[in-house]
């Protein structure tokens, strides 16, 4: 044994040296006079399809800010990493961005699971994350700013609109994961509260990337031919949408018969489909590329110029990053530092122009105020806006339609400083 040890001692030393050197190299950090901004979006794997665009938008916003003279007299520097649609890798990359690269803020994540994966990291290392995608709510972290829609900023207004259009029978179709489950739970309760009978609601879940929609579309068709006006509320996720819409079109379900309102289908997703047979199907968002405002025109112009392709589109999460980034810039200017605690305090109450012609403000629950728009698909792949909320809707972290979530409120201002304060027990839940 000793002999073996002695014989292997030399290679061990050698290996240790090599390993040490390479690790040291890989994790070396450079200090320079810039403010670093982390971009944590998947550039490969299944989510690259949606997230790559957001990386580009962030690069554009950072470039524009630098042209305006940077921030606090320093240039901004983007640090792009690829978490590769791999959820644990999101956590690892987040850790790397905060503790190795020392970024001042991170803009990133798309799926809920990626956010759930990085949340403990941001809380532990006291980082700042701007999350730009609509999600199921039921969360409010001190270190995360949710610039996408909460369910009350998307799902409920959409259902209201359809009910107003005479819809009495509802299909809630979604991909089987937490966002559709929660949203459908909320909607089911909401519909029942509004007098919709049990048998007028059909709920259907499909796996990720589901591509054979024949049976389900024909089921929907059957459900919709019971004499009452029927609509489909779709929380079907990204990839599965194209075959779903293609099947709808092929089986001849037109929006005038059974409209589909989707929460995850925007301009980017429609870019992969011939929209002529889909005209009239709906989507609920807080932004559409077709918005006719000067801010939006400017944004689109600079986006098209930046990306160098006139056929590209803009979408809701891009606007969310636009709002989030400008809010962060404003908060840093207000705080005079990029120190996380100071910025977190300064963020609340910051209001910046959104692209629909108004101002969005950061609420004490770290969600923002937004208008809710409903658009119908047009044959050019854009949405024609048919309805919008009269004013801005503040995002609600804790839904009023889930029994356990109802008593919770979130307010990160002092003296409360709590993301999940239970108004019934008067206590702040959780470890903090």
């Amino acid at each position: 044994m000793i002999g073996i040890l002695r014989r292997t001692a030399k290679p061990i030393a050698l290996a240790a040296c090599i390993a040490g050197a390479s690790i040291g190299n890989a994790f070396a950090q450079d200090d320079s006079d810039t403010i670093k901004v982390g971009i944590l979006h998947s550039l490969s794997g299944t989510m690259a399809i949606s997230e790559t665009t957001l990386k580009d938008v962030m690069l554009m916003l950072i470039e524009e800010q630098n042209e305006k003279g940077g921030l606090l007299g320093k240039k901004l520097e983007a640090v792009v990493v690829d978490p590769a649609s791999d959820w644990p890798l999101f956590a690892e990359k987040a850790r790397q961005l905060i503790s190795q690269d020392k970024v001042a803020a991170v803009f990133g994540c798309w799926t809920s699971v990626s956010r759930k994966s990085v949340l403990p990291v941001f809380e532990e290392l006291n980082g700042l994350l701007f999350y730009p995608v609509q999600y199921e709510g039921e969360e409010s972290s001190k270190n995360i700013f949710y610039t996408g829609a909460a369910p009350n900023q998307q799902a409920i207004p959409a259902v209201d609109y359809l009910a107003d259009q005479g819809v009495e029978r509802w299909v809630l179709a979604g991909t089987d994961y937490v966002y559709p489950r929660t949203t459908n739970k909320i909607l089911e309760q909401y519909l029942k509260d509004n007098g919709v009978a049990e048998e007028d609601i059909m709920i259907n879940y499909t796996p990720f990337g589901h591509s054979d929609w024949q049976s389900i579309v024909s089921e929907i068709k059957a459900f919709g031919s019971a004499g009452k006006k029927t609509a489909v509320v779709s929380t079907i996720n990204g990839d599965a949408n194209v075959p779903f819409y293609k099947e709808l079109a092929n089986q001849g379900i037109e929006a005038t018969d059974i409209p589909v309102v989707a929460f995850s289908v925007g301009e980017e997703e429609l870019a992969g489909i011939d929209t002529a047979p889909l005209v009239g199907h709906l989507a609920a968002w807080n932004y559409f590329m077709s918005l006719d405002t000067p801010e939006n025109d400017d944004f689109i112009d600079s986006w098209l110029e930046f990306i160098g392709d006139d056929d590209r589109v803009s979408n809701d999460p891009m606007e969310a990053h636009y709002i989030g980034f400008n809010m962060w810039v404003k908060a840093v200017e207000k705080a005079g530092t990029t120190d996380p605690d100071a910025v977190i305090d300064a963020m609340i109450g910051v209001a910046v122009p959104n692209l629909s012609g108004g101002y969005s403000a950061m609420m004490p629950n770290h969600h923002i105020t937004k208008p809710v728009l409903i658009g119908e698909i047009q044959d050019d792949g854009q949405f024609g806006i048919v309805w919008e909320t009269p004013g801005l809707v503040p995002g609600d972290a804790w839904s009023d339609y889930l029994p356990d979530s109802k008593p919770l409120i979130s307010d990160w201002r002092e003296p409360l400083g709590c993301g999940n304060f239970n108004t019934e027990t008067g206590q702040c839940g959780g470890a903090s």
């Binding site: 796996p207 591509s211 004499g227 990839d239 194209v242 075959p243 089986q251 929006a255 005209v279 044959d379």
Partner: protein, 553 residues
């Protein structure tokens, strides 16, 4: 001419649609008036045009639509249809309502009434006129009313169908009037059914309803069921209605089974297409080809490139785009396959498990290469017209795209079997894969055969990609979605046996579609996987095992 009083208290659109129809009937019954109208022509509608443009005040726009319909002007239908299609926009420079059209790569503004070209348009020169689904429905209804007695039977048929779908008491009169002079048998039938459906929704006499029930029952669909249920609430009719309902339900149940079989066959044909290239590279050659899915993806992207080129340079060829894409996709994927074989796989014969590793690496590279070249997002591949829509076969609807894919997969399979069994090249492939050294001794250039076989498998995967681009996403991840299913199909059928792949794909497809309605899509798929695992325990070499020494390889 009857003019709708502007302060009509009843804003029920059905009522007004009927009014419009009535107006039309009157108008058509008076040839003199027609003459008078056409003299004034479409220009009469100009003052009413602005009634279509009310921003998001859709109720007001609905009034505008009715006002236009109520004129009975022959140009109204075309005008409303271009409004429904979303082609009417407001030119910002002079607030004029124009029809927007793409002509030869340029967007031009056209006067919606005269058809006169008003000039070119650039981005943001115009603003869309808002329209929503309810307005589209309204336009469909009023246009149906206006075109129920059009000259073209196809238009009459559409109008009659619309009336059938939107059956209501108000449709009875126009339908009766139209029926009186209808000559086309199939249009007559639709009209009669629409009339029957409308009668059941009205307070017509019992005799009328009794007759209508029989007509409606012949429809045999869910609408019939719904109308009959409505009729059954009348005690006088309930007995007969219930018997008819039972009949319709039996019919529906039968067609549901038929529909499931069809769905299964169609899913099976997709699986067959996806797997058939793999049946060659993996099944025949023994290469665990993890890059197979990427070959399918390359085929789909070839289709995209072909369609893009056609769209820009030869718009007339669009209908033929898939036919053009097929040989190209075969060549692109096939050549890349040969390249892969020559550069990587050929070093690995006899080490099948290592081919897994190398081809996995290749698949990563190909995915990322496509992502860099074409971007990460989905690309649009359009359906040619002959592949869009569906037709009715008894109680089930069969979509043309699925039907084409079923037929296409059968053709591909048939050709491949012929190639392997009946040609000299097929003989060489089989010889090389069964006994390489012996084949080489007999004068077969084995490296050449290897490369061509791998190229063939990849090429077939490429043409599968052309078909799959019609029903699925064209994205860099396309291949990943099919790779596991493809391997399962080949293994389930029996490695090395094309017929096994065929039977395997179809049976898995049908099994899946019969489980889905009961277990749901997710659980159904899990059950299929578990069943495959158990099946392999029973038959460790798949459905059609290879016999003899080759089996031990």
């Amino acid at each position: 001419m009857s003019v709708r009083p502007p302060d009509a208290p009843n804003r029920s659109r059905a009522f007004l649609a009927a009014l419009a129809c009535l107006a039309l009937v009157l108008f058509l019954l008076a040839p003199a008036a027609v003459h008078a109208q056409s003299e004034h022509g479409a220009e009469d509608l100009r003052p009413l045009l602005s009634g279509l443009n009310n921003g998001r005040d859709f109720d007001k726009t609905a009034e505008g639509i009715r006002a236009i319909a109520a004129t009975g002007n022959p140009a109204a239908a075309a005008l409303l249809q271009s409004f429904r299609a979303g082609n009417l926009e407001v030119r910002k420079s002079d607030d004029r309502i124009v029809r927007v059209e793409k002509r030869g790569g340029e967007t031009v503004a056209i006067d919606p009434l005269t058809g006169e070209v008003l000039g070119e348009l650039r981005r943001r020169d115009t603003r869309r006129i808002s329209i929503n689904n309810n307005l589209r429905n309204l336009v469909d209804e009023v246009v149906a009313g206006m075109t129920l007695r059009a000259d073209d039977p196809a238009i009459r048929q559409t109008a009659a169908r619309e009336m059938l779908a939107a059956a209501s008491a108000d449709n009875i009169e126009p339908l009766r009037a139209a029926l009186a002079e209808e000559t086309d048998a199939s249009v007559r039938q639709t009209m009669e059914r629409a009339l029957a459906a409308s009668l059941l929704r009205s307070d017509a006499s019992l005799e009328d309803k009794r007759a209508a029930m029989e007509t409606v029952a012949a429809l045999g669909d869910r609408q019939a069921l719904q109308l009959l249920t409505l009729a059954a609430s009348d005690p006088e009719l309930s007995e007969r209605a219930n018997r008819l309902i039972a009949g319709v339900e039996r019919q529906l149940a039968f067609w549901e089974v038929a529909q499931n079989v069809w769905f299964g066959i169609s899913l099976g044909s997709v699986l067959l297409l996806a797997a058939i290239g793999l049946a060659i590279t993996f099944g025949v050659m023994g290469v665990i080809n993890m890059a197979h899915g990427e070959m399918v993806m390359l085929g789909a992207y070839t289709t995209f490139v072909v369609q893009e080129t056609i769209r820009i340079h030869y718009p007339g060829l669009f209908e033929a785009s898939l036919a053009i894409a097929l040989p190209l996709a075969f060549c692109v994927s096939g050549l890349i396959g040969i390249l892969i074989e020559r550069s990587v796989i050929r070093w690995l014969y006899g080490r099948p498990l290592e081919t897994l590793l190398a081809t996995w690496g290749i698949s990563l590279i190909l995915q990322q290469a496509v992502r860099v070249l074409f971007g990460a997002s989905n690309r649009e591949v359009g359906n040619p017209d002959w592949m869009s829509g569906a037709f009715q076969l008894g109680g089930m609807s069969i979509t043309y795209s699925r039907l084409s894919i079923v037929i296409f997969s059968l053709i591909v399979f048939g050709l491949l079997v012929l190639l392997l069994q009946r040609t000299a090249f097929g003989l060489q492939i089989r010889a090389v894969t069964q006994n390489r050294r012996m084949a080489s001794t007999m004068g077969i250039r084995t490296p050449w055969t290897d490369a061509l076989t791998f190229g063939l498998g990849s090429g077939v995967a490429g043409i599968a990609g052309v078909a799959l681009s019609q029903i699925d996403n064209v994205s860099p991840n396309l291949g990943q979605g099919y790779i596991i299913d493809s391997f399962l199909v080949v293994v389930f059928g029996g490695v090395g046996n094309l017929w096994g792949t065929f039977v395997g794909a179809l049976s898995l497809g049908i099994l899946n579609k019969f489980l889905e309605p009961y277990a749901g899509a997710v659980l159904g798929k899990i059950l299929v996987l578990v069943l495959i695992i158990l099946f392999i325990q029973k038959r460790p070499r798949g459905l059609f095992p290879q016999k003899g020494r080759a089996a031990e390889g």
